[in-house]
């Protein structure tokens, strides 16, 4: 190449030195993470609050999760409009005033909704916590959903949904949800544009009154704070946030049964999405730690059997991944890969082979040890930042767990044996336990997938 130096070594010369290969250093002594002072309590209005002092930087993270299920036909659309307009005004502040007050404390608040919950996440300079909590309280108790804001945000939502529905991952997720769970409310993750236009400001206000409730919800606060003082502040600031009954919990998902993979045609796709799924157990199950290690060995991290096979050996995919999805008190494992059309069937074959192999040629001592260390280490590194810890705690809190679970989990992982992993592989990763979808170009994929077997062609019912 022209810009490189005129003389250089060959690739072979570059790859060796006179001294030869060197031994990889052993690991040193690991210090435990410092204990963090924390409070886990329930306010008078029924809101559970988990407050942790982590003063690494002068910031604070606030995450609020409110169970937010609904059976109504228009619920997903109304909930989405509510999420988009929650911060567009109250009796005290309009949209711009809310943004300005937050900006002046270096803060922001984001709102999201899915079939299970409404999530409101905020952060700010720690000195701005009183303002941040005041904005939370003001919107929770007094969001006004004025007609013009609801109209404009609905319009934008229709436009954004059009964009979302062209994303291959959204298309594949929707197909998987319908194929797994039929018409269960959990499948209605992305509302339809024709429903959004039916949403009225009255409907949004009614949903707020009926469902934005503290009882059964969880707030996590992590940062440069005094946990005890924060609890007192919250009792005062959020005292006016009340309501009848408890926040609405999503109906339990049906147990997933294995079955044919559904092939969903997407004409002209240059890449296909493989999405497979099987029932597992949640974090509260005594087998969870072993299951977690087993999943890492299968496809949960880069040094896994699946990634080493279909990416590093065969080059079928940029990323293959296997991970848990927790809904209420249930859990499934999802296995994902995006692959070029001409190798999709082969990638599905290899994935099924690895499912079988995991049970029949169970993980070795060294595979288990590697996955165990990764599980422990990644928990330590991911909870080293305020945002990481807040995210971890928020996920745990939805199943009633808390800070103590994080602290004790390394011990549970340390106790997992090779036999536990072999058992979990047989119990949870057997090929027949999986169902799923493949989305891709029918002309290129159809004949090969049909020949492979265990694949049905069609649109999800």
């Amino acid at each position: 190449m022209s810009v490189t130096s005129s003389t250089h070594r060959t690739a072979e010369e570059i790859g060796r030195t006179a001294r030869g290969p060197r031994p990889v250093p052993e690991l040193g002594e690991q210090r435990a993470a410092a204990d963090l002072s924390h409070v886990d309590t329930v306010l008078a209005n029924g809101l559970r609050v988990l407050a942790v002092r982590k003063a690494t930087v002068p910031l604070v993270e606030v995450r609020l999760w409110i169970p937010f299920a609904g059976d109504d036909e228009l619920h997903p659309a109304t909930a989405e409009v509510l999420a988009e307009t929650l911060l567009t005004g109250t009796a005290k502040r309009d949209r711009v005033a809310i943004d300005t007050e937050l900006a002046l404390i270096g803060g922001e608040i984001g709102v999201g909704v899915d079939p299970e919950r409404l999530s409101i996440s905020g952060n700010a300079l720690a000195s701005g916590l009183p303002t941040l909590l005041d904005v939370f309280a003001d919107t929770l108790t007094g969001a006004s959903y004025v007609d013009t804001e609801v109209a404009r945000e609905s319009e934008r939502l229709v436009e954004r949904l059009a964009v979302a529905r062209t994303q291959p991952r959204t298309i594949a997720r929707e197909a998987l949800q319908k194929h797994r769970y039929g018409s269960h409310p959990a499948t209605r993750e992305v509302p339809h544009a024709e429903d959004i236009v039916k949403v009225t400001p009255e409907g949004v206000r009614a949903l707020h009154t009926a469902s934005v409730l503290p009882r059964g919800a969880t707030m996590v606060i992590v940062g440069d704070i005094d946990p005890d003082k924060v609890i007192g502040d919250l009792e005062r600031v959020l005292g006016g946030w009340a309501g009848d009954g408890s926040a609405k919990v999503l109906a339990p998902l049906p147990e997933l049964a294995g079955g044919d993979v559904l092939f969903v045609p997407r004409p002209g796709a240059v890449q296909s999405q493989i999405r497979l799924s099987a029932q597992t157990v949640p974090r509260t199950d005594p087998r969870y730690a072993a299951l977690q290690v087993t999943n890492f060995v299968f496809g949960g991290y880069f040094s896994s059997r699946l990634v080493e096979n279909i990416r590093e050996d065969k080059g079928y995919t940029y990323g293959a991944h296997s991970g848990f999805e927790f809904t209420g008190s249930s859990a499934v494992v999802n296995v994902d890969a995006d692959t070029a059309s001409d190798v999709t069937a082969a990638a599905l074959l290899e994935t099924r082979y690895e499912f079988g192999r995991l049970g029949l040629v169970p993980p070795t001592e060294s595979e288990v040890e590697s996955a165990r260390q990764y599980a422990i280490g990644s928990l330590v590194t991911s909870t080293a930042s305020q945002t990481g810890l807040a995210g971890q705690l928020t996920a745990l809190a939805s199943t009633g767990l808390g800070f103590d679970w994080v602290a004790a989990h390394p011990e549970r992982l340390a106790a997992v044996t090779v036999d536990d992993v072999a058992q979990a592989a047989l119990d949870f990763f057997a090929p027949g336990r999986f169902t799923g979808v493949v989305v891709g170009d029918a002309e290129l994929l159809g004949p090969k997938l049909t020949a492979l077997g265990g694949v049905t062609v069609g649109e999800p019912s």
Binding site: M1, T4, V24, A33, A103, G315, A340, T381
Partner: protein
């Protein structure tokens, strides 16, 4: 931000070292930045810098293929690498007990990476899948980072696609890899950074032990990528086979990020005044008041600020409905920029932006991976990792006049306008 406790020095082979101890959590971050990015790729080899980044994970003299990943992850750590316009970085975050192992892994591939034809072929396939995933098979793929530069710039280094064309990627040879490594991956062209839970003495000893005998090679001359400002408004159009709505990107050249840092920071503040939050000027007018666009963004850099030398780009991007002509959006944008001169941002409007920057910088500092990478890239680009800690104050010192001047420099007669049209309009 409190001044970090930094130690900087250079090994005999020219390798620069930045140490940033901080014992608040028992974890360490290790990174190596090489002073070569996709702007240095030769013609006919688009995407090569990124492809080569992939190859650096494929083994070295002491480590078989896959061993790098296995050692990092079985130590409880995570890893990655990324290719930028002007540099390429590699990094690990691990429990502190694995510090020496991480340094060993980085040193082994700096000294003697195993570049083989088989791994090259495999990683060409993987990179093609990465491009299908991130560009070809999704709406707005490569918008605007791949699509805007060829409209704004004339010279190959600035204008070409850093992900690469498939035909170029397929042409890459082992010979190219050897030449690229020997030229650009010299220790004198790199920075190693360690941040987190360790002592300086111990880290110095380990770095000397593992990197000390990486043979010195000359530091390659760094070419200038400078080119003149656009002499008019440049227009480009792209048909997107997946996008449901049209999109627009406007690119302006901005002050030299390195040699005119304060001018550059004024542009960052301007980006906030225009685009950050519901109270920002363009958000208020274009998204809510008129409204002309669905979503809007304004800011510096193809991937964000502080990651390129001159020339760098200030971008405004928007997604909008087909009923709105791009010229209406451009007209409103130009009006708002002119209004800035007549009604400059007041103290509160500036405070909005600077407080969010301060919080954002703290948050970045709290995540070990971004803290490590920031010290490394600021050493590489600015020769001053401590600058990271002073950014919030320097941003807070930007005046209303500075922002007005920055706005005036965003001239309609010297910019690039990229129009993205849905290929299947109406579907």
């Amino acid at each position: 931000m409190a001044a970090p406790d930094l130690t900087r020095y250079t090994l005999d082979n020219g390798l620069r070292v930045v140490l940033a101890p901080d014992p608040t959590a028992p974890v360490v971050g290790v990174s190596v930045h090489y002073d070569v990015g996709f702007r240095s790729e030769p013609e006919g080899r688009t995407g090569f810098a990124h492809l080569f980044e992939h190859l650096m994970f494929q083994g070295s003299e002491s480590l078989e293929k896959l061993a790098h990943f296995r050692y990092v992850q079985s130590s409880g750590g995570t890893f990655n690498g990324s290719t930028h316009p002007d540099y390429t970085d590699y990094f690990e975050v691990l429990p502190a007990a694995a510090l020496e192992r991480a340094l060993f892994l980085e040193a082994d591939r700096m000294r003697a990476p195993k570049l083989t034809a088989e791994n090259l072929a495999n990683q060409i396939d993987v990179v093609k899948e990465e491009i299908r995933l991130n560009v070809l098979n999704r709406p707005y793929g490569g918008f605007p980072w791949i699509l805007l530069p060829p409209v704004l710039y004339k010279t190959f280094p600035n204008a070409h696609n850093g992900y690469g064309d498939f035909t170029d990627l397929e042409q890459a040879s082992l010979e190219d890899c050897a030449a690229f490594f020997d030229t650009y991956y010299a220790p004198a062209n790199a920075v190693v950074t360690v941040a987190g839970d360790f002592t300086v003495d111990r880290a110095r000893e380990l770095i000397e032990r593992h990197f000390g005998d990486v043979p010195a090679r000359p530091k390659p001359p760094r070419p200038s990528f400078a080119e003149p400002l656009p002499a008019g408004e440049l227009r480009g159009e792209h048909l997107d086979p997946h996008a449901p709505l049209p999109a627009l990107a406007v690119g302006y050249r901005m002050p030299d990020p390195i040699n005119d840092l304060d001018g550059y920071l004024a542009n960052l503040v301007l980006g906030g005044v225009l685009g950050d939050g519901d109270g920002a000027r363009l958000q208020q007018r274009l998204v809510h008041r008129e409204p002309l666009v669905t979503d809007l963004g304004a800011g510096a850099g193809l991937f964000g600020p502080f990651e390129a030398r001159d020339p760098d780009v200030f971008t405004i991007t928007a997604i909008h409905t087909p009923e709105v002509e791009p010229d209406r959006i451009l007209g409103a944008l130009d009006e708002e920029l002119e209004k800035l001169a007549a009604a400059p941002p007041d103290e509160q409007e500036l405070a909005r932006v600077t407080a969010r920057w301060a919080a954002g910088l703290h948050s970045e500092h709290d995540r070990l991976v971004s803290r490590t990478l920031a010290f490394g890239s600021f050493e590489l680009l600015y020769d001053d990792p401590a600058l990271v800690a002073t950014l919030a104050d320097r941003i807070a010192a930007v005046t209303s006049d500075d922002v007005v001047a920055a706005a005036k420099a965003l001239r309609p007669d010297s910019r690039a306008v990229l129009v993205v049209k849905p290929e299947q309009e109406g579907k």
